[in-house]
Structure formats: C-alpha cells, structure tokens
C-alpha cells in the first residue's frame, strides 16, 4: 500500500525574474507530522499555496493522495483542512456563521453540534455569537484551526499556526497538533520558521532557503549533534566561569548577569552540572539553545567543507 500523502517533484515557481521555489522535491507519508522549515521569505507559503492550488506552479508536479492537484482539485480538497498564513475571516459575520459557511463549502454535512464541538475544541464555544471583528489575533488563529478541522480532513496543512500567539496559546496549539496526530491519525504538514517548534512536535522535516531544499529527513537524526549551545542559569556566574575553564579548558568564557552560554558536548553538560553542584553553585536551569539561523550556518558550513 502506498503511504505517500504528498509528493512534490521538481516544483518551481517564478514571479518574473524572482524564483520563489526552485526545483523542490519532497514526500510526506501517512501519519507524519512533517515540519516545513525555513526563514521568512524562504518560499514556504508559496509552496503551500501551490499545494492548495491557490497559485499555479511554473513547472513541476504535486500529487496529494496520489491525485494530481492540477486535475483533481475537488477530490483532494475534500480531504484537506488548511490554514494559509494568517487566518482571515468574514469579520462582519459571527464565528458560528463563518464556520457554517466554510463547513458548507467543504461539501460535508456539518451539523450545528459539529460546529460547536470544533469551537469547544479550540476554546471559543462561549464566543460563537461574537462577530469575528471583535476577536484577537490569537482567537482568529484558533478559529482558523477550527475551520481546518471542521470536515474531519485526513491531511491538515498549517502555515505558521502559532504566529502571534502567546506562550500559552503556542503550547495549546502544539498539544492540539500532537493530539490530532496521535489520537486521530491525521497527517500534518506544518510550516514554521522556528526550529524549536518543529523539533518539539515533528517526526520528519525539510528545511528550505531561497526556494531550495537544504536538508530533509528525520528530525531527531538531523538535529543530532556532538556539540550544542547550552544556556546555564546559575547563582554565582563568576565562580561558574572558573569551573567552566577548569572542566572544558576554554579560557574565553564570559558571563552575562547570572547566565553563561557555552558550546558543549552532552558529556560536558553532565560533568559541568555535577561540578557546579560540588562547588556549591546552584543551577537554576540548563536550556539548549538552537536557532534556525545557527542551524543554517552549521549545515551550510558543513556543505562547504564537504
């Protein structure tokens, strides 16, 4: 049985002389939480718009559920729920009415109970009679998720769904995505420019930049590294710096307030933590720091060295 849900081959989109997506290939398999990662302007939204037939590719092909996006638009869209960039609604209509309209357009028999169930799921049931123009960005984002899930799609495409949300809202969305994947068996295509977000929930990912694929594969394998940047928060940073010099031999360590950031192996992190405790330094937190930019630099440097 073919488990491929999305198959993109040689996908290219040009806007005049600008190549927004350049010969992109990728595959998403059934049950994946697929992270589609890249900095702003990398071509993520353009790719998603081509997946959803909002824009037409210059060349290349897209197959979803084994069907051609170009020829089987209706069949495919019945099985997809999506948020493309920020969710925009009919502001002059209520949340309920918006979902009713979008539900009807989805071709499924959407009952009042189903709409209320979705609003309940995203925490907006109490505001179902409110016009969307009174909603905050976070509420619109959650309503966007509700409309994407309304017709029980097999594939959910989410374009930066946590943008503009507060930390609690981001956490709720991440939990919802994991719930949809684990409990409901949905395939999720999730775009983001935050590596940490993808690292937390995706099993596979691709990184693109300037429309080109940089790397694709299993998240844990791609992010596995001998050294990582770690942020220590300690009670006595000056004393901690001396300990670091002693353990790592690195003489160029500086502290900022009560924080020290270091590039360490896993073994060094453990040893350093033990030494801090032995020397009476309290360790408040150890946080790995890995930004997309750093990761980019690392893999592009790696490519140069190869």
């Amino acid at each position: 049985m073919n488990n491929t849900i999305i198959e993109i081959s040689g996908l290219t989109k040009k806007f005049g002389s600008l190549t927004a997506v350049d010969n992109l290939d990728l595959k998403v398999y059934k049950g994946d939480i697929f992270g589609f990662l890249g900095p702003n302007g990398a071509g993520k939204s353009t790719t998603i718009r081509m997946l959803l037939s909002l824009i037409k590719p210059t060349s290349g092909s897209i197959k979803i559920f084994g069907l051609s996006v170009k020829h089987d638009h209706k069949k495919i869209m019945r099985r997809i729920g999506a948020i493309v960039e920020k969710p925009d609604f009919y502001l002059y209509l209520t949340a309920y009415k918006n979902l009713e309209i979008l539900g009807r357009l989805s071709g499924a028999d959407i009952s009042k109970n189903k709409i209320m169930e979705m609003l309940e799921l995203v925490g907006l049931a109490s505001r179902y009679k409110s016009k969307v123009k009174t909603f905050s960005h976070g509420m619109k984002q959650r309503l966007g998720l509700a409309q994407a899930l309304l017709h029980d799609p097999e594939l959910i495409i989410l374009d930066e769904p946590t943008t503009g949300l507060d930390p609690q809202g981001m956490k709720e969305i991440r939990e919802l995505i994991l719930y949809l994947s684990r409990e409901k068996g949905k395939t999720i295509f999730l775009s983001s420019h935050i590596l940490h977000e993808i690292e937390m929930i995706a099993n596979r990912m691709i990184i693109i930049n300037r429309g080109k694929k940089i790397v694709e594969g299993n998240v844990s394998e791609l992010l596995r590294s001998d050294r990582m940047n770690v942020f220590f928060e300690v009670s006595d940073p000056l004393k901690a710096v001396e300990v670091v010099k002693e353990v790592t031999g690195n003489q160029d360590v500086k502290s900022d307030s009560n924080k020290i950031t270091l590039s360490l192996t896993q073994r060094e992190i453990s040893e350093l933590n033990r030494k801090f405790v032995e020397k009476g330094i309290e360790v408040y937190s150890i946080v790995p720091v890995r930004s997309l930019e750093e990761y980019f630099l690392k893999i592009t440097e790696g490519a140069k060295n190869d």
Binding site: L52, S53, H73, D88, F89, L91, Y92, I101, L102
Partner: protein
Amino acid sequence: MINLIRIELIKIFGKWRTYIGFIAIGLLVPIIQTALYFTGDDYINMVTRGFQETFLMVGNLLNGYFIANLVLNSLFIHIPFLIVLVGGDILAGEATAGTYRMLLVRPVSRFEIITSKFIAGIIYVISLIAWLAFLSLGISLLVFGSGELITFRDKLIIFAADDVLWRFFYAYLYSILSMTTVFSLSFLFSSFVENAIGPIIGSMALIIILLILSAIPIDFFNAIQPYFFTTHMPKWSHFFSDEIDYYEITKSALFLAGYSFLFFTIAAGIFIKKDILS
C-alpha cells in the same frame, strides 16, 4: 450551486455597504413623495400649463403611477452608482480581506465560485430595483391612489389607468437588465484588483465618461454612441410610448445582455487563472 449562491447572499447581505443603496432609495423616494403630497398639485399645474387652454384636465392626475414614473426618471441615472458599491467589492473585497485563502481551499471550482458570486450579485440588483418599485409604485399607489398616467416624453401622452401597470412591470424588468450590465462592469473591474475602491471609482468614471460622450453632438461620437452600453440603459422609457418599438427594445436588451455576458466571461477567465497572493 444553490448552496454557493445562498452563501454569497449571506456575505453580500451581511455587509453594511449593501444597505447603502436601500437606505438611499428609502430616503429619497419618501422625500419626493412628501414634497409632492404637499405641493404636487402646483407641480401638475406647472407641467400641464401649456395644455390647459386646449384640454380640460380632470381626475386624479397626481396619482401613484405619475409619481412612480417621475421617480424612475429622476433616479435611474443615479442607481448605477449604488450598484457599483456592491459590484466593485464582490471579488476585490475577498482579496482585501484575505478570505480567498479560506474560500478556494474547499472542494469547489473557481468557476462555480465566480458564477455563484455573479448570480448573487444579480439577485442584489433585482432586490434593489424591487425595493425601488415597492416604494415608488407600491407606496405611491397606497398614498396617492390610482388614475391615468400623464407623461411628457417628446409629446404629451395620457395612458388609461388600466393600461399602466404592465408598462411599469416591463420597465422595471428592463431596468434590472440595465443595472445588471452596470453590476457586470464593476464585477469585471473587481476581478482585476485586490481593493474595492478602484473598481467602484473606475466603474463610476467609465459610466460618467460614456454619458458625457453621448451628450456631445459631434458626428464621431454620434457614430460610436450605439456601441456604448449606457446608450441602451434608459430604453425602459420606451414602454411609456403610445406605440412601443419592440424591435428597438429587444435590440437594446440583447446589447445589454451581451455586454453583461462579455464582462462576466472576461472576469471569470481572469479569476480562474489568477494566482491568489493576498
């Protein structure tokens, strides 16, 4: 398709700007009716002054038919400006709001979407003309009663009271066709851009330009005038002739229908091929 049209109607009638036309007509017609209620006899005397020495004017000349005809003559030229408020927004409004991204990722073809929008727009046009008919004819008949209709198109014509209602019916029907062409024009302009202001102003400007060109008595303009859709829009008034020129009316109606179809076809072609970047 019926489902899609119903959704489009919910969107059209959920917007405040849709009611501007209804409010404008709802204010203007009662103002004209009130003014005529108090000073209508003077107005009738003034317009029939030339005939009073030749004819004996008896009966209720200031009746509902007279007022409805007067209102239609006065407002017909301005109704297009109310129509384009909705027509110019119907496609561009979705682009401005970003709602295309929600709408077009459903199992519905773009042709179905644009067709449903167009049909819903025509329903809006029909409802606006029906509102005008209700206020100007219905309410006027209730308040001023029935009677012979006196008109002054080229010459004085008096229609018997039982020979008028059907003329209004066809005049309103023809008006719907005229306004559908105006709606189609703004609909076309709306497919070009992502902001409703341009199509609204553009449609108004084009109508004004064509009306001005039609009014300039130069041979060149006279020669091209028959090809302007604005030339064919006021032909509803032919139904208030003593001998109705059905050939002329049919020709103009076909012209308007043809223009509407052309505008819709171009708009559909643009919409289907358009990259949604908003």
